[in-house]
Symmetry: C2
Subunit: 497 residues, 2 copies
């Protein structure tokens, strides 16, 4: 793609002054509607060293109120960031609704410069580019606007700029040996950039190629594109109340091979365990798990466990039996309640990305990202389009976790409606348990049938071979606890082989 | 203090079983009232290597529902953490209301082990211990319960335990060369611990010294103290609705030398600037500031700027003129609105600690921690005791920032009541500005006199010599902008000298 860019355009000072004045006024006028219509915008800049990213970003944001944007400079990942999936730090930075996020370099560093300089395997790189496409698609589908600029200059021009910077005492520190090396091997970087641009220029997040030979011309190009695309997005949002139209034409998402799951109504729920056998097995499995935890830690393998299930199905007690066996310094239980203001203003997966474990650690989610296709669906907190699409998004999310090296284990704790009523009544009549039962539990119970449809759909659509669902018979709580412990230890053991 | 601990106590298996069973039941029963009464609890463990912190923590938390606590292992600070005040990472970890935070090692590492091993200057160390006392005092005063355990074993016992671990293949990795070195120089560490224990055992957060020679005896001691202190805190909270009583008897807080400030009513608000002079000065000051920003970055000096002022006093435009001059990769504007659910559940300074800049960076707070003594006071969101105490807490906070090396600059943007009315009316009648004016602005305006009292008190009580207030005449917005730019550049220049 790079060779097709006309690197010659330049512009007269007068023309620049006149055009930039108009565009600046248009840019300044955009911020209020962005805020009012709650549009989250990501503008990222990639390109050659000395292509002028810094000054372009400075002049772009000078048009905005500093309270409405954030600038992020992407530097090499920290030690902690290296212990997370490569998109983790980028997920954490996504803006909230109504805010502009401007990125000086981005996740594309990982599939271009750092690919070359760290000799990343081609196959890994391809995976990463696909992950990026999925990341941008799910953001766009969920209302984000993503603008990607690539600033291009020629090898000769880059060399000239480096020389100019090196000539002055006050700027010579800005040119490093690495910069010179990169200029020398310009052609290699060119190929890596081309590769990346081809793979990641999508209908929902196309690359805008900017000739940066003339700074003024580049500035006008960027201004114009920013004005046009934000205006379009605002108009579409106004019409549809969603940003989805932006992603109308898109790469076909991957399909996943699914494990067939029974319907909830087909589960007999008749299995039990004797007290004696329970005690004995619990002890054995907990000590196995404890030992396995040490091995996971040593091998730096992360584990993500998601608990879902009917109210009063026994999630708390079940989780407790698992966590008891773990070294408290190596696991975390993440209770998932209704989202906070910060969470609700971002993509629904953001708060789960935020809470991923470090490698070698275990995160146990007490309720999870599946809220999207259960409570959000049933209560109408998102549109049908949203939750329909979420099956795919969730499968992609979990596949990215597995690609990172994680073990993903998912439980549906199952009881029947009569058992739930018994437990609710028991809670209500036992003073020490009353806090466990709220009006909301009764409201949810009244929608049992709707939830059952949603749960069945969820089990059918998201039980992948890399992250299958496990339905746990929890009618006998003790039986359920032994089952989850068995599945967790078996899954980890198989993975360690 | 260490030599006074009786290291001999041990306990029979039977006695342990019986007593621990009772205590475990008491512990388990505490979690619900902790949650209901929204008590935030910090339990930290310090002590010798191999004293049994890990297993003690494991057995303590086995009594709690894992959704109600978090365990934090404190390891040496990361590169990012080293670029923040030393208490930063500990502030970020404070629990929300109703949650138990269990710390395996803590901020005390910084004034004991890391003091010795990094040759920290005695004076710096003394400062840090005082900072810790202030940190714990302000947490306690604001309703937190802090339990501090020191696990003590003798040099001989430690050596024995290291040898035992080294003898087994599966545990030998747990004993490092550093551990042996620490055992060898046990006496030095003893002195450092003693120093720390003496300085930081306060009435509001006393140290509990535990003989850890016998694990069972230590476990019972810890259980008993946890039960007693949490029960006490819950009772006091029940009575008073606040945790303050815990801190009734305390070290006298430092007093600060204050800069005398005029009353708002004495400000004449008659200064103006011509358009021509404004343009000329703006350009000059912005270019100075731009250059200074580079120097700050090179010298890794952080800058914290707080903007306060009347509604419509021109904060937004003023901040914009400052931020325009800055490299977007080196500053951040932090807009402060009403706190989110996560923020409201923690100490009121938490969200400002969270948003501190890295060293070499600038953070501009658009409204700030002074909300505590203005809006929270006037609207009754906190008690009189709370906001009265906040002057001291805020001065301590800012002194800690200055100790870290930060430049702290605070502006009160001042206009009179008539000018505010004019600007409100102007906003209301100009379509493009209507979003800027809300019912709340009018409500606040109706309380002008109460706010004026609060602002005058704030200016008198928190204008310290290290972080003085600057009252900016903003009746003429342009005059105000030039003033803030002058003060910022002057302050930075003086600091760099």
């Amino acid at each position: 793609m790079l060779e097709k860019i006309d690197l010659k355009e330049s512009i007269s000072k007068d023309a620049f002054k006149k055009q930039s004045k108009e565009l600046k006024a248009e840019l300044a006028a955009l911020q209020q509607p962005i805020k009012q219509q709650k549009l989250p915008v990501i503008i990222l800049f990639e390109g050659w060293g000395a292509a002028g990213k810094g000054s372009l970003i400075a002049s772009l944001i000078a048009n905005f109120d500093p309270r409405g944007f954030k600038v992020h400079s992407i530097v090499p990942p920290t030690a902690l960031e290296q212990r997370k999936p490569f998109l983790w730090r980028h997920w954490l930075n996504i803006p909230e609704q109504g805010v502009l996020s401007v990125l000086d370099r981005s996740w594309y560093e990982e599939v271009t410069v750092s690919r070359l300089e760290n000799n990343v395997d081609d196959n890994v790189n391809l995976h990463r580019m696909n992950d990026i496409n999925e990341f941008e698609r799910t953001l766009t589908d969920n209302g984000y606007l993503i603008l990607k600029f690539f600033l291009h200059i020629s090898k000769k021009e880059q060399k000239k700029r480096f020389e100019l910077l090196s000539d002055s005492k006050s700027t010579e520190w800005r040119v490093t040996e690495l910069d010179w090396k990169r200029n020398k091997h310009y052609e290699n970087y060119c190929r890596a950039f081309d590769d990346m641009l081809k793979h990641t220029s999508t209908a929902y997040a196309p690359w805008h190629m900017i000739s940066s030979m003339d700074r003024d011309a580049a500035t006008l190009d960027v201004y114009r594109i920013v004005v046009d695309r934000i205006t379009d997005a605002l108009n579409q949002k106004g019409e549809k109340g969603t940003g989805n139209a932006l992603a109308s034409e898109k790469i076909k998402p991957p399909s996943f091979s699914l494990v067939s799951m029974p319907k909830l109504s087909d589960i007999e729920l008749n299995q039990t365990i004797s007290d004696e056998k329970y005690k004995q097995q619990l002890k054995k499995l907990q000590s196995q798990l404890s030992e396995l935890h040490g091995k996971l830690y040593a091998k730096k393998i992360p584990v993500v466990i998601a608990y879902e299930g009917w109210d009063a199905a026994g999630k708390g007690g079940n989780i407790h039996r698992v966590s008891e066996a773990l070294d408290p310094r190596g696991y975390e239980v993440v209770p998932v309640a209704s989202p906070s203001r910060e969470e609700i203003a971002r993509h629904y997966l953001w708060r789960f990305w935020r809470n991923l474990p470090k490698d070698g650690h275990i995160a146990i989610f007490d309720r999870s990202w599946y809220g999207r296709v259960m409570v959000e669906r049933v209560e109408g907190f998102c549109t049908e389009e949203d939750w329909q699409r979420a099956y795919q998004e969730i499968n992609e999310f979990e596949r990215q976790l597995c690609d990172w090296g994680a073990i993903v284990i998912k439980f549906w704790l199952h009881i029947d409606k009569a058992e739930q009523l018994k437990r609710f009544n028991d809670r209500q009549s036992t003073p020490s348990k009353q806090w466990k039962i709220t009006d909301e539990d009764w409201r949810n119970r009244s929608k049992w049938d709707e939830y059952e449809v949603a749960v069945n759909d969820m089990l059918q659509n998201t039980s992948t071979d890399f992250a299958p669902w496990h339905i746990i018979e929890s009618q006998d709580k003790k039986f359920g606890r032994i089952q989850t412990l068995k599945i967790i230890t078996d899954t980890i053991q198989n993975h360690l082989k």
